[in-house]
């Protein structure tokens, strides 16, 4: 087994260049090491990303909030910028796993593993985030979140590529996240939802709403988006929203046995979220 921990992008490129089918990129390890154990995979090599300096930290740009792929859930929660401007992302990070998991789990790892019930993925879909990718050759490409995740635990990352940063467009917004799980804390979402509202003089100019864990990747809830457009938070009628939420779930998973539960659960979820809007 091999272990290498590049200190910067240049060293990372050299390591990626040597990578083969048994090389894994590791950050927090909270998904990867469980997957490898379940698959009883041995003899693999690791490229430890946690020391790559260009992948760290949260940067406040004029048009973007630029989050390093290594930023942990704990760091997201501790950032005043995230707490203030990216409420949905803050809530998703705050309610993820346990203290130990939040201290290790990274935003880059969450999207690269592309779990279908990921809380941060559904938020980044709603924000229309861009994923900045670097290759072994030093080539960069920026891919919209909804194209980055292509299926269940599948992304557009090629071998020899790594997620360097996640860019969230900055605008006057109000956003919300919620999830329903089997228990109060340390729970994996049975259904989750993120809403991103662009506001203009108190009215919703554009709404972006995604539901998670009702398909292989987050699903855009267009009925809800259309409903919200032009309304103010005060004129949202909960019953209408719940009815549309139920329809969205029926549409997303018409045949899954879990639809009976989820089309009810979504109504409670939407009640929580609408109730928490400012």
């Amino acid at each position: 087994m091999m272990f290498t921990a590049p200190a910067d992008e240049k060293e990372l490129q050299a390591a990626l260049d040597q990578a083969d089918g048994r090389t894994y990129l590791i950050a927090g390890g909270t998904d990867l090491l469980i997957h490898l154990q379940n698959r009883k995979e041995a003899d693999c090599s690791f490229i430890d990303l946690t020391k790559v300096k260009e992948f760290q930290g949260i940067r406040e740009e004029k048009d973007w909030i630029d989050i390093g792929s290594l930023v942990t859930m704990t760091e997201l929660c501790a950032s005043p910028l995230v707490k203030e401007e990216l409420r949905a992302l803050y809530l998703a990070a705050y309610h993820l796993g346990s203290e130990q998991i939040r201290n290790r789990a990274t935003l880059g790892g969450a999207i690269a593993n592309a779990s279908q019930s990921s809380d941060s993925s559904v938020v980044l879909f709603a924000y229309g985030a861009l994923v900045d990718i670097i290759s072994a050759q030093g080539k960069r490409r920026k891919i919209p979140m909804d194209q980055f995740i292509t299926g269940r635990e599948k992304t557009c990352l090629d071998r020899g590529e790594a997620v360097s940063r996640i860019l969230i467009p900055r605008r006057k917004r109000s956003s919300m996240f919620g999830k329903v799980g089997a228990r109060k804390a340390v729970t994996i979402a049975k259904i989750n939802c993120a809403m991103d509202f662009q506001l203009e003089e108190g009215l919703i100019r554009k709404a972006s709403v995604y539901l998670g864990a009702v398909g292989v990747k987050p699903v855009e809830a267009r009925l809800l988006e259309n409903y919200f457009q032009g309304k103010s938070f005060a004129t949202i009628a909960l019953q209408d929203v719940q009815e549309l939420g139920k329809e969205e779930v029926e549409k997303a998973i018409p045949t899954r046995p879990s639809r009976f539960y989820k089309r009810v659960a979504v109504q409670g979820l939407l009640e929580d979220m609408i109730g928490a809007l400012p």
């Binding site: 921990a5 090491l33 469980i34 430890d48 346990s98 130990q100 998991i101 290790r104 340390v186």
Partner: protein, 153 residues
Amino acid sequence: MKLKAVINGTAVERETDGSKRLIDFLREDLGLTGTKEGCSEGECGACTVILNGEAVPSCLVLAGQIQGGEVLTIEGLEKNGELDLLQKKFIAHGAIQCGFCTPGFLMSAKALFMKNPHPSSEEIRRAIEGNICRCTGYIKIVEAIEDAAKEME
């Protein structure tokens, strides 16, 4: 690889496989068997240690990832033959029954105190939400930590 880290306050340098898990490095290479392995997937908290000031599941960290860092395990809590305040309170409150989860709970509580010496009851509960105990029913554990917090005021 040559692994250099500070473990329980002592600089350690070992030739080891960086891709083994931190818990295996602690238990097998260093003989620090106070850290327990429960679920092996970060759900139970038994293997919690403090890495660079933060509680982490040592079953989901690779040994190589601690390079240049600082690790505190249950063996590092006792100072000069005297137990840490948290350990004393766990004993006084009967917060220990079979004891298997105890090192993990203590390290989670210790990490909380290192960041926040005066935590609220809510903050205490949040800090140990990733630790599972099948004996005590948690109440005595929470009380022990609350008592330790009170004594530090």
